[in-house]
């Protein structure tokens, strides 16, 4: 039986170790799956997605701003064209005026004629320059506008497409990540459930270990009682001749004491059987719970991550990064397209301002020369008309210059903003690309780690269930108990044959009856249970310390048997008790009369009390 206890104990500790390993794996899986670490892969991927989305949205903001600016630019260019036409219309009379100047100058002396012809030529050149320059610039604006318009239309179309692609990619990636996260949560929840189930299994093991301890103590007692019975039997055999001579009282006491011993042993057997049942039930419960836990492990396994999910998430992020790349490149294209237009506006502004000055200067020269001419009334009128045209043209040119300056500033600001965004976009794109690589690694690790952990848990759970089965198969307590029970019955039958040789009844004297009562009172299962509880609470070492004896020798120290020590009466050899069924004998033991009856063993009550007291120790 001890071997069996040891085997079961080993099995239990093996189970406990396996369970601890499974619990550790469950905790790791739960931690991994539920994303309790700061840089959990799914969180990281999700955040990366959002950061990429930020960049895409910011690029859309930039495009929106670009579209708005381009719309304004188109309006400004249309206004500039209008202003240009108005200036040309204002300057148009100068052609006729210069012709009149030439005609009028021909009437003047040669010196004055040369001056006014030169003035007319200057005026013509200035007007032509203004016309040519402005027409060229306006044509340049229109050409730039057309280029940008084409670019904007292309960008607009691609943005429509990208918006759709990005929205789809974001939704898909989010859905994949959510699915991935849900699968992780399920795996984590499954692991937690498994852990809780295994916790129940741990409690079972704890209960079984307690029952094992009770059984082990009981087992020791059984063995000690058995040894005591053997010793009693030996001593009775030795003292049988003397006892047969001493009379019936001693033999009757021995018989009753044997009955009590048997009752007690039978009680202990019952306890042992109950404890065995408890162990068996505990292990069966353990088996059932471990089966449930296995099912839970399978459930965790069934949430195994779809290996395409992580790739799809990653592809979504890569797709968005590609769109960001395109956005950054597009902004570079826009910047390149705006650059000549920006330069053209600045150039045009400078020239327009310069032309306005030239026209004014020509008008002033004409007026000065007209005053100094001999007959300059007509010339003065013509100079006045030049001045008037100049006065009309100058504010218009100035207005157009201001408009050009504002447009140039607007284009410049847009260029700077786009350049800033391009720089920021490049930085972000590079960071997100690095993070994307990191995210891919993390997702791949997670993707690889979780199925492995689930598989390990499942394998361990299966192995655990097999171990439980093995431990369960080793539990054979009832058989062992039945064998020991038959041994005690055999002992009592021996007592019956020993004590009842002359057909003795159960009557005895008062002293013997008192001793039997005291023995019965102290030698009860209640005392046993109390002793068990004391041992479990304080630990066997305390009992050992209290008794000063090694636990295995505790019962050996009990006086062999009351009858053996009494030695007062000796039965004669060959005397035997009448044949009587065991059940009757056992039932008779419960009807021992309480009235005192004389007995020879009353002389030695101390040993009997000591027996009871010693039994209580266990």
């Amino acid at each position: 039986m001890e071997t069996e206890f040891l085997a079961t104990g080993d099995g239990l500790s093996h189970l406990a170790r396996r369970l601890a390993n499974i619990q550790q794996e469950c905790r790791s899986l739960s931690d991994l799956a539920m994303g309790q670490t700061q840089d959990a892969a799914v969180q990281f991927a999700f955040q990366l997605l959002k950061k990429a989305e930020d960049l895409v949205l910011a690029s859309y903001d930039q495009y929106d701003h670009l579209f708005a600016t381009f719309g304004e630019l188109q309006q400004r260019i249309a206004l500039l064209s209008k202003q240009h036409e108005e200036i040309m219309r204002v300057l148009l009379p100068l052609n006729f005026i210069t012709m009149s100047l030439r005609i009028e100058a021909s009437r003047q002396p040669a010196e004055a004629q040369a001056v006014f012809v030169s003035l007319a030529i200057d005026l013509n050149r200035t007007v032509n320059e203004v016309r040519a320059t402005l027409e060229q610039q306006i044509a340049g604006f229109h050409a730039g506008e057309l280029i940008i318009q084409a670019l904007v239309q292309e960008i607009s179309a691609s943005i429509q497409r990208h918006r759709l692609e990005v929205t789809t990619a974001l939704v898909t990636s989010r859905n994949h990540l959510r699915a991935f996260g849900d699968a992780l949560c399920n795996a984590g929840a499954g692991a937690t459930e498994l852990s809780q189930l295994n916790h129940a299994v741990t409690k079972h093991i704890g209960g079984i270990v307690m029952a094992q301890q009770c059984q082990d103590i009981t087992r020791q007692k059984i063995e000690h009682v058995g040894e005591a019975m053997d010793e009693i039997r030996n001593q009775l055999d030795d003292s049988r001749p003397a006892a047969m001579e001493s009379g019936l009282g001693t033999r009757q006491f021995v018989l009753h004491a044997g009955q009590i011993q048997l009752e007690q042993v039978q009680g202990v057997f019952d306890e042992l059987n109950r404890a065995a049942d408890s162990v068996k039930a505990g292990i069966q419960g353990l088996r059932s719970d471990s089966g449930t836990a296995s099912d839970a492990a399978v459930k965790v396994g069934s949430t195994a991550l779809d290996e395409t999910v992580a790739n799809l998430c990653q592809n979504g992020i890569s797709g968005i990064l590609a769109i960001i790349d395109q956005a950054v490149l597009r902004i570079a294209e826009i910047l390149a397209a705006f650059e000549p237009l920006q330069a053209a506006f600045i150039n045009c502004t400078t020239k327009a301002t310069s032309l306005a000055g030239d026209v004014r200067l020509a008008a002033l020269n004409a007026q000065v020369f007209a005053i100094h001419a001999a007959d300059g009334a007509t010339l003065e009128v013509l100079a006045g008309r030049v001045r008037a045209v100049s006065d009309d043209a100058i504010p218009r040119v100035g207005q157009m210059g201001a408009e050009l300056y504002q447009t140039a500033q607007m284009v410049n600001n847009l260029g700077q903003q786009l350049a800033d965004f391009q720089a920021l976009g490049k930085v972000e794109r590079d960071i997100l690309t690095d993070e994307s690589v990191l995210s891919k690694e993390k997702l791949a690790q997670l993707e690889g780690a979780i199925p492995l952990m689930v598989e390990r848990i499942s394998c361990q759970q299966v192995a655990f269930a097999q171990s439980v089965d093995a431990v369960l198969a080793k539990v054979q307590f009832p058989t062992t108990v039945a064998e020991t029970r038959s041994r005690s019955l055999e002992f009592f039958e021996y007592l019956v044959t020993w004590g009842g040789a002359d057909g003795a009844g159960l009557a005895m004297d008062a002293a013997a009856s008192g001793n039997i009562d005291r023995l019965r009172a102290n030698y009860t299962m209640e005392s046993e249970r109390q002793a068990h509880a004391a041992v479990l609470l304080t630990g066997l070492p305390l009992v050992r310390a209290a008794t000063g004896l090694p636990s295995s020798n505790l019962l050996n120290d009990v006086p062999s048997a009351p009858a053996a020590d009494s030695g007062a009466e000796v039965f004669s050899a060959g005397e035997s008790m009448p044949e009587q069924p065991m059940s009757e004998i056992l039932s008779a033991s419960t009807t021992i009369p309480s009235t005192p009856q004389p007995t020879s063993v009353a002389e030695e009550p101390a040993e009997e009390v000591a027996l009871g007291a010693n039994v209580e120790l266990f």
Binding site: F46, D61, A423, K426
Partner: protein
């Protein structure tokens, strides 16, 4: 065409007006040129950029930079998407005898939220790293002050164990 250097527009550098809880006894130096308006998505990128820049200067590990930038994204994005008005981003260097760190305050006077602590207490919210709970997990110290109609102020800190010169 060469890429021009990123220019952060100069803004008001006065300290933030929102009430800020003092968590520890330390010095704080607000970073000039780093008080940014948060009104559109590009501002989220800019706040992220400035934060990375400051954290890099303090010698934070790349992983911390990523976490911090992510937290900033979450909080500033909340302002852009949910506050209903523009907000302010402010970053400062904090230090005490043992260590240095960064303190970031993002505040707005927008809609605000009711019982903001629920975002902190409920671990189920933001499981996938979204919003406030996601940001909370990424920094050493996180504090949110908000009420409906009065706006929201989020204060975050990250600390470096060893002080840098």
């Amino acid at each position: 065409m060469t890429t021009p250097a990123l220019v952060i527009p100069p803004v008001d550098t006065s300290p933030p007006t929102a009430a800020v809880p003092e968590t520890t006894n330390y010095n704080i130096v607000w970073v000039e040129q780093a008080r940014l308006p948060i009104a559109k998505t590009q501002d989220v990128l800019l706040a992220r950029f400035v934060t990375r820049d400051q954290a890099t200067e303090l010698g934070f590990e790349p992983a911390v930079l990523t976490r911090l930038a992510t937290a900033i994204s979450e909080i500033t994005r909340n302002v852009v998407q949910h506050a209903g008005c523009s907000g302010i981003f402010q970053i400062g260097r904090v230090s005490n005898a043992e260590r240095v760190g960064l303190r970031i305050i993002v505040s707005d006077k927008g809609k605000g939220i009711e019982r903001p602590e629920r975002f902190i207490e409920d671990a189920k919210l933001g499981l996938l790293g979204t919003g406030l709970p996601g940001a909370r997990r990424l920094v050493d110290h996180f504090h949110i002050q908000s009420a409906p109609g009065t706006g929201t102020t989020v204060t975050m800190e990250v600390w470096k164990t060893e002080a840098t010169a």
